[in-house]
Every structure is written in structure tokens, then in C-alpha cells.
């Protein structure tokens, strides 16, 4: 057996052993994830040197190149980290053993999806992943919170819908060209190629969560626990969806041959950035706010990939990695807060920074990274996407200012909404009941701290580590940079600035802050009344003249694709029921009615009276005679 099979099969077997053997359960799960990671590293190292393909059972065809090796590595890393986290986090959940088993399976099958080397394998693995996701979403629907069933139904509806369209798109290719591998660079100039490209992108969008197929993520965030959110929508699905988008855009097809499709991707990207971040601004629940940001960040990746400019594509790919890192870190830290407080409403939280210093630091780093603050990694990838968008003018695409504007505005609004979130969870006044909260234990804070460290590292050492090591070699283009940004230099300057500021603070004329009692209406404001929650931060935006209607529609669900999907299909089903079914019923009832009348007539003839029968015989004879005569 080669690493390909072992990578997928070992976690499945070890997970099953863990499922059966109760006293070594966590060890088995952990071992499975570790082995998965180990083989992922091996395959990654192989993929740096040479492209490998392998056929299993005559139908599954695996192949690895630099791009898939790199995505594979991070999928198994996230599986490992979040598994460590959730073993502790879900300690008190009922039936957690199944949950961990599905978790491992999802990691393994996710690896298989990335390694898929032809159309059929991709369809199979993509679908198995959907069934596992429905298992893990269905797992919580009865156990935890209200509305679980609906969230489950909604997310599986959207994912299944896109899955079938993806199958249609891939099936079209399968019919036209046979069981293809993904390295053909087909030109996008005939109907079949364009149609299948659009259908496959729909599958990618639903998986990654781009508008308009995003609405399952906020819905499932209401019921799913933090590690599930951190794993499935925040890291794994992003990696897979964007990986497939990139794969079909520049490996299977050549997006640069079609100007309109490029703009289609970029328009979806920019709308996703802006609309989702505007929705995120006004959320009052931590998980839901984060989930809208999960959607918003996808926009940058789609925008970057859609530019068709090498630096923009590299930016999109790098942003995919960065987003997976900091977004899962954010979900995990939010989970750590929820672990003690059992609360996800923004207004009930506050002032937890002194109690949970490590959680706070991880959260802050990730929040700054997602907002695109230099020198963190989020800034660098956004910067690359901006460069790609600006470069569009050389190609004569004069829509680029709009894309650029939405990307930059999205970044600003992200910062704004994370100011609100950081303030209302970790800063501000602390409610009385949270005074005794301590830092969570090692296995909970370690994964998030490691991820935060990664975003710091990938920001400061962006050029030597991720860019030169992972991103550029994965892409089949020669990449020109034309902006100037040295993250290390910037970091040194920032640190110097902070030190100088500190020195000025120590020796300078800055006085210490004076504390005084606060009076409202002539009365002393007591300490417990001083709690100011952040959920009202951006209510003026909600009442702004233009946005007011938009928010109204948004809260009603007018931008929710699921509502349209069900509405269209319900409309047709109503039509079928009320017209076709009704008409058929009517026809059969009429037939029954007339045959009853006819039968009644016949019955009347059969009266049992001799003279009646004689009369009928007489008439019959006359008719026969008439026929014979004529």
C-alpha cells in the first residue's frame, strides 16, 4: 500500500477501533489524526519533487501535484488541531464517540477529495463528503438546540442542490471528453465547456459559501458547536471549494480565454465581500457574526481567482490559506469563551480579557489578521488581491475600480465589526457572574494559540515562508510583483514604534489617568449598571437611508437562496398537484360516474320480468332483420 491509501484508510480504521473500544477511545482517534497528518506530510514532500498518479480498484484515480499537496497538508493539519480541541470541548456531550468518528472520516475523505485525479473520483468523494457532513450536522439536531432540524434541512438542501449541479457539469465533461484528468486547459469557447464551468462553479460556491449560496452557514452556526463551525465551514469547506474553483479555472479549463466568465467570478466575489460584511456588522450573536465573516472572506478569494492576473490568483490562494487559519482560530476562541460562559449573545458578554489572557491574545491576533492590519497575514493576501485587481486596467477591464472599492470597503467594515466584537467579548465592563472564570486548559487553548501564531508567522515572514515556499510553486504561472511591501521591515518598524511610544510614556509628560465617579441625572451610576454592551455599536448604519431597506430585506430572508429554491420548487409542485393530479382525478371520477350510470341502465334492463326480456328480443330481431334487408 502506498501513502495514498494509508492516508485515507488508516483514519477510517483507527476511528472505527476507537468507536468500538471505549477505554482507548481518545488515543485511537488521536492516533488516526496523527497518522493522517504524517502521511499528508509525506505526500506533500513527494509532491514537491514529482507528480504522482495512482489507481485504486480500477475506478478511483488519485494524483497529486504541488497545488493539491499543499492543500492536503493544511486539511490534515486542521483535522488534527480541531480534533484535539473538540475531544476536550465536547467532553460532556452525549454520544460524542460518533461525532469524533465522523470528524476523522471527514478529514480523511477531504484529503481524498483533494487528491482526486479524474472526474469520477471527484464526484464520488465530493458526494461522500456531503453525506458525512449531513451525518455530523444531523448529529446535533436532536441533541442540542431549537431549530436544529431546520438548519440541517436547509444546509443539506443547498449543499445537495449544488452537488447535483456539480454532477451535471462534470457529467457533461465526462460525456464529451471521457474520464478526464484535471490538467487539460480546455478553452472556454464552446457551449458545453462554458455550461459545465458555470455548473461546477455553483458547486464550489455552495461549498465555500459565496453569495448567493451562503445562507446555510449562518443558519447552521445557530446550532452547531464551535469546533464543527471551525472545521467545516471555516476551514475544510473553504479549502476544498476554493481549491476546486482554482483547479477548474486554470487547470481543467483556461479562464483567461473567456472575458465574460472572468467578470462573472469577480462580480460574485465583490458582491459577496460587501453584502456579507454589511450583514455581519449588525449581528448580535458571536457565532452568527463570525459566520457572516466566513462568507465575506470568500469574496476575496473568488475575486482574486477571477482576475486572471497571476498575482491576483496567488493572492486568492494565499487568502484561502490565511482565512482558514484565522477564521478557525476565531471560531475556536469563541468556543473557549462559550465553554465557560455558556453564552453567545454579545450583550451578555464583556471584560473577559484579564480572565482569559491566552484566548484574548489569540482572538486579537486573528481579529487583526482578518481585518487586514499589517504586518499580519490577512493584509498580505488582500494586498496581493488588490494588486491583481488594479492590474486589470492593462487588460482593458474598466470595471476594476468597482471591484477594488468593494474589496477595500469590505476590509474597513470587517475591521469595524471586529472592533465591536473584541470590545464586547473581552473589553468593557465585566458582568458579575463571570468574575471567577479562569483560562481554559491546555488542549483547548493550544490549537487556537498555534493558529494565531501561524497567522503572525505567515504575516511577518510572508515572503520566505508561505509565498516562496507554498503559494508560488503551486501555481503554473510566472508571477510578477509590482507593489512594494516588506512585511519583516514593517514589523520591525512597528515594534520600534511601540518601543519608542513606551519610552515616551515612561519618561514623558503623560500623566496617569484620573478616575472619578460617574453621575447620570445627578445620581451616582453604580458599578453594575455601567455595563455597556457592543451590540448597539452600528445601529445607526442600520437606520441609514439607503441601507435601511436592504437590512429589512436581509432580515426577512429575501437574499436567502434557500427561500427562492423552495419557493420555485413549491410553485411547481403546487402546479403539478392542482392541475395535473386534479385533472387526472377528475377524469377518473368522470369515468367511474359514467360507468356507474351505464351499469345502472344495464341493471334496469335485467329486471327479471319475462315481458321485458321478450321486448328486448323483439327489438333485437327487428334490428337484425333491418340489417339483413339493407
Amino acid at each position: 500500500m502506498s501513502s495514498f491509501e494509508l492516508l485515507i484508510i488508516l483514519p477510517i480504521i483507527l476511528g472505527f477501533l476507537g468507536y468500538l473500544i471505549s477505554f482507548l477511545r481518545n488515543e485511537f482517534y488521536f492516533l488516526g489524526a496523527i497518522l493522517n497528518f504524517y502521511y499528508a506530510i509525506r505526500i506533500f514532500l513527494i509532491s514537491r519533487k514529482i507528480e504522482v498518479t495512482r489507481k485504486i480498484f480500477n475506478i478511483l484515480n488519485f494524483s497529486v501535484d504541488k497545488l493539491s499537496g499543499f492543500v492536503l497538508l493544511f486539511i490534515s493539519l486542521f483535522t488534527l488541531l480541531i480534533l484535539i480541541y473538540s475531544i476536550r470541548y465536547l467532553k460532556y456531550y452525549e454520544k460524542k464517540k460518533e461525532y469524533f468518528y465522523y470528524f476523522l472520516l471527514i478529514g480523511a475523505i477531504g484529503c481524498g477529495t483533494v487528491l482526486a485525479g479524474d472526474i469520477l473520483t471527484l464526484i464520488i468523494f465530493w458526494g461522500i463528503l456531503l453525506s458525512l457532513i449531513s451525518l455530523i450536522f444531523g448529529f446535533f439536531q436532536y441533541a442540542t438546540k431549537e431549530g436544529g432540524e431546520f438548519a440541517f434541512v436547509k444546509s443539506i438542501s443547498i449543499l445537495g442542490f449544488s452537488d447535483f449541479l456539480l454532477i451535471l457539469g462534470l457529467g457533461l465533461l465526462f460525456i464529451s471528453y471521457g474520464n478526464l484528468s484535471f490538467n487539460l486547459k480546455l478553452p472556454l469557447n464552446n457551449t458545453i465547456n462554458i455550461l459545465s464551468f458555470i455548473l461546477i462553479t455553483i458547486g464550489c460556491f455552495a461549498k465555500a459559501g459565496a453569495i448567493p449560496l451562503h445562507s446555510w452557514i449562518p443558519e447552521i452556526s445557530k446550532v452547531a458547536p464551535a469546533p464543527t463551525m471551525a472545521f467545516i465551514p471555516a476551514s475544510l469547506d473553504k479549502l476544498l471549494g476554493i481549491y476546486l474553483l482554482l483547479r477548474i479555472s486554470y487547470y481543467l479549463f483556461d479562464l483567461n480565454t473567456n472575458f465574460v466568465l472572468k467578470n462573472y467570478l469577480m462580480i460574485i466575489g465583490s458582491i459577496t465581500i460587501l453584502a456579507a460584511v454589511l450583514m455581519a456588522l449588525i449581528q448580535k450573536e458571536v457565532m452568527k457574526l463570525l459566520s457572516y465573516h466566513t462568507v465575506s472572506q470568500v469574496g476575496y478569494m473568488v475575486l482574486g481567482i477571477g482576475t486572471g492576473i497571476p498575482i491576483g490568483i496567488a493572492g486568492g490562494l494565499f487568502h484561502m490559506l490565511n482565512n482558514a487559519i484565522y477564521k478557525s482560530c476565531l471560531f475556536l476562541t469563541a468556543g473557549q469563551v462559550e465553554f465557560w460562559t455558556k453564552e453567545t449573545k454579545i450583550e451578555k458578554l464583556g471584560g473577559l480579557a484579564p480572565n482569559m489572557p491566552i484566548t484574548f491574545t489569540s482572538f486579537l491576533i486573528s481579529a487583526l489578521a482578518i481585518s487586514g492590519i499589517p504586518p499580519l497575514n490577512g493584509f498580505f493576501s488582500k494586498w496581493m488581491v488588490y494588486q491583481g485587481v488594479i492590474y486589470l486596467y492593462k487588460e482593458g477591464n474598466y470595471l476594476f475600480p468597482l471591484y477594488l472599492l468593494s474589496a477595500m470597503l469590505g476590509s474597513i467594515l470587517t475591521l469595524a465589526s471586529f472592533l465591536k466584537l473584541t470590545h464586547s467579548i473581552f473589553l468593557g465592563e465585566r458582568p458579575k457572574e463571570y468574575e471567577k472564570i479562569k483560562e481554559v486548559n491546555f488542549s483547548l487553548w493550544f490549537p487556537s494559540a498555534l493558529l494565531a501564531f501561524l497567522s503572525l508567522l505567515f504575516g511577518i515572514l510572508a515572503i520566505p515562508l508561505p509565498i516562496k515556499g507554498l503559494i508560488y510553486p503551486s501555481l503554473p504561472f510566472r508571477i510578477e510583483e509590482f507593489g512594494f511591501w516588506q512585511p519583516l521591515l514593517a514589523f520591525i518598524l512597528i515594534v520600534l514604534g511601540v518601543i519608542v511610544g513606551f519610552v515616551i510614556y515612561l519618561f514623558g509628560a503623560v500623566k496617569k489617568v484620573e478616575r472619578k465617579d460617574i453621575f447620570v441625572g445627578g445620581e451616582l451610576l453604580k458599578e453594575e449598571e455601567r455595563h455597556f454592551s457592543g451590540d448597539q455599536f452600528y445601529s445607526p448604519i442600520k437606520e441609514a437611508p439607503l441601507l435601511e431597506k436592504g437590512y429589512e430585506f436581509g432580515e426577512e430572508g429575501s437574499f436567502d437562496f434557500y427561500n427562492y429554491l423552495t419557493a420555485i420548487f413549491s410553485g411547481f409542485s403546487l402546479l403539478f398537484k392542482e392541475v395535473i393530479d386534479y385533472i387526472l382525478e377528475l377524469i377518473y371520477h368522470q369515468i367511474a360516474y359514467f360507468s356507474e350510470i351505464f351499469g345502472g341502465l344495464l341493471r334496469k334492463i335485467q329486471s327479471g320480468i319475462l315481458s321485458d326480456y321478450l321486448f328486448v328480443i323483439f327489438i333485437g330481431i327487428i334490428i337484425i332483420l333491418l340489417i339483413l334487408i339493407l
Binding site: I128, S131, Y142, I156, G160, L168
Partner: protein, 374 residues
């Protein structure tokens, strides 16, 4: 066809044996069906399906087809107050059978048979089938397998019948029409007008979509499942009528998957299993197979049919996808309707577990082998 004829016959018999055995086991616990009448008809049903599968004679097929109709009628009447629904079934199927008989006689005339005896009905002696006689013959199949415009009896029957009877109906009795279609129109190299196949394809796919749509509209679980049965059966017919390797193989796989998943779902309704993960497991496995998501068996059938229909036309492929989307939506509706109840029916539970696991195992095996032989 790439598969051996004998193999397919044995496979079809195997597909029918699973619901048969499940119902047999179930009947030991159920007072309503534990009587000699039920067992007699159970045995008659499996016998007639055996003869339909293995016989090569149109007359014999017709006779056993009619016996299976009568058996289905008596099975519905096992609960005496179902007389109206049972008669509904009988009238429809009887009308279909009359048309079918006319069709068979027409075929004999067309093939120039001079002396009508038993061997004149042998399938080997027939060479061509015209459009009219083909359609007349298939009307019998349509009534049995509930294709538009002859499906109206099925929801009425399903709404009132007890669960083991429904399991037999959707697992065995209704598939017999499809088996006959396969035996007459697909397996032998008869000379059939190609417009006949187009007629069947269009009718079947529209039935599938329309029935799926009505299933999405319905509020009661049994009625949803009834219309879902119509939709799935017509999808199988559609796959057969595509007449390419992908479509036929997909339809054959889908017969097994549908027999397991649908009768499993009906048993699942009876089982009322405990709240929690187990509740999710079996229901989810059966639903995912019905929707057609890998690694379950339904996926293999669906993907083969989709590929087969794309081979003919893009639009047919799109229509298949639309039908699948309806399946997705109404299947997920179970979760919003089904109540969480503590259950006590151990045997039904066992059957549901068995079917769910079988769907998984067969799914993996068929996935590997079906693409290998194509």
C-alpha cells in the same frame, strides 16, 4: 447488454427476496398480518415474480402478472375496511391488463403467427413490435408501475394499507412491471420502432418530475412516500428506456436500492425508534440513498442514469437532475415532519438497521464493480 442474462435474472430475484424475507420476519410479530391468508399471498407473490423473471413466454408472463395483481389486491384487503382502496387498485390494473392483452394479440398478428398455441407466445418467435402494440402492451406496465396517466391508484392504496403490505407492494409487486418491460423491450434484440422509446422516455421523466413535485407538496408522510415511489419507479423505467449500457445498468441498480430504501423507510415509520443518534443513523442512511448521495446504493443508480441520459441529450440530463432535486427536497422534508417518539417495535428496527447497512455495503461494492464493467 454487457451483463450475462442469467446473472441479471438471478440478481432480480435476489432484489425481490430481500423485501420478501423482511416482511416474512416482520409478520411473526404483527397480529394483523399473522394469518394463513397473508402467508398464502406472500408465497404466491414471490412465486409469480419468480416465473415472470425466468419465463420466456409472453402468455406465461401475462398470466403471472395478473396473478400478482390479484395478490396485491387481496394484500391490500387484508385490512377489511380498505375495500375502496383495494378496488381502486383492481380496476386500474384490470383496465391496464385488458389493454396489455390486446397489445399481446396485436404483436402476434404483426409477426404473422398463423396458429395460436403456447409456443407462439415465445419471445424468441417474435421479431418486431409496432408503435401501437408496444404502447398498448406498456399500458399494463404503466398501471402496475404507476406511470402517468395511470398512477392515481397508488397514493390511495398507500395511505390506508398496513406497512408490511406496502413494503411488499413497493419492494416487489410494482417492480414486476419494470421487469416485464426489461424482458420484452430491452433484453431481446426485437425490432421495435425507436419512436416508442422516445415516447416512454418523455413520459417516464415527466412522471418522475411531476410525482416528485406532488410529493414535495404533500403534508402526510405516507402520501409523500407514495408519490416518491411513483417518481422513483418512473425513473427506473426511464433508465431502462434509455437503452444504453449506463441507463440499463443504472436502472437495475436502482431497482434494488429503491426496494431497500423505500420499504426500509416504511418500516422506519413503524419502528418509532429512540431519540438521538440512532434516530439519525438509519433514517439518514435510507434518505441519503433515496436522494442518491454516495457511498450509498442509490447514488450508483442515479449517476449511471444521469450519464446515460446525458449520452442522449443535454436536456434529458437536466430533467433527470431536476427530478433528483425534487427527491432531495421532499426527502429532507421527513425531518421536519417526523415526530420524535420512543419506539418498541424491535423487529421493524432490526429490519431498518439491516437495510440501512445493506445499502451502504452494496453501495460500495456496486460502485466498484459497475464502473469496472462499463
Amino acid at each position: 447488454m454487457i451483463l450475462d442474462k442469467n446473472f441479471i435474472n438471478q440478481y432480480l430475484l435476489f432484489t425481490f427476496l430481500l423485501p420478501f424475507l423482511a416482511t416474512l420476519i416482520y409478520s411473526f410479530k404483527d397480529k394483523l398480518v399473522r394469518n394463513w391468508e397473508f402467508y398464502l399471498f406472500l408465497v404466491l407473490l414471490i412465486f409469480s415474480s419468480y416465473f415472470i423473471i425466468f419465463s420466456n413466454n409472453l402468455l406465461l408472463i401475462y398470466i403471472f402478472f395478473e396473478i400478482s395483481t390479484l395478490v396485491a389486491w387481496r394484500l391490500v384487503l387484508i385490512k377489511r375496511e380498505n375495500i375502496k382502496a383495494g378496488n381502486y387498485l383492481l380496476y386500474f390494473n384490470f383496465a391496464g391488463a385488458v389493454l396489455m392483452l390486446i397489445g399481446i394479440l396485436l404483436i402476434l398478428v404483426e409477426n404473422g403467427v398463423e396458429k395460436i398455441n403456447f409456443s407462439a407466445f415465445n419471445l424468441e418467435n417474435l421479431y418486431n413490435i409496432s408503435l401501437i402494440s408496444g404502447i398498448l402492451l406498456s399500458f399494463g406496465i404503466f398501471t402496475k408501475s404507476a406511470i402517468i396517466p395511470f398512477y392515481s391508484w397508488l397514493p390511495v392504496v398507500y395511505e390506508v394499507s398496513p406497512v408490511p403490505v406496502i413494503a411488499l407492494l413497493c419492494g416487489i409487486a410494482e417492480n414486476l412491471g419494470l421487469v416485464i418491460f426489461y424482458k420484452i423491450f430491452i433484453a431481446p434484440l426485437l425490432n421495435v420502432e425507436s419512436s416508442f422509446y422516445y415516447f416512454i422516455i418523455i413520459l417516464a421523466i415527466f412522471t418522475s418530475i411531476i410525482a416528485g413535485g406532488i410529493a414535495y407538496f404533500e403534508k402526510k408522510l405516507k402520501r409523500i412516500l407514495a408519490y416518491s415511489t411513483i417518481s422513483q419507479l418512473s425513473l427506473i423505467l426511464y433508465g431502462l428506456a434509455l437503452k444504453n449500457d449506463y441507463g440499463i445498468l443504472g436502472a437495475l441498480v436502482l431497482i434494488l436500492s429503491h426496494a431497500l430504501a423505500k420499504s426500509g423507510l416504511f418500516f422506519r415509520m413503524e419502528a418509532k425508534e429512540a431519540v438521538g443518534v440512532g434516530f439519525g443513523y438509519t433514517l439518514l442512511f435510507l434518505s441519503l440513498s433515496l436522494i442518491g448521495i454516495p457511498p450509498f446504493l442509490g447514488f450508483v443508480g442515479k449517476i449511471l442514469i444521469i450519464i446515460g441520459s446525458l449520452k442522449i441529450n443535454i436536456f434529458l440530463g437536466m430533467l433527470t437532475i431536476i427530478s433528483s432535486l425534487f427527491t432531495l427536497l421532499y426527502t429532507l422534508k421527513f425531518y421536519l415532519i417526523l415526530k420524535k417518539e420512543k419506539g418498541e417495535n424491535i423487529i421493524a428496527n432490526f429490519i431498518v438497521y439491516l437495510f440501512a447497512i445493506l445499502l451502504l455495503i452494496f453501495g460500495v461494492i456496486f460502485l466498484i464493480y459497475s464502473f469496472k464493467i462499463l
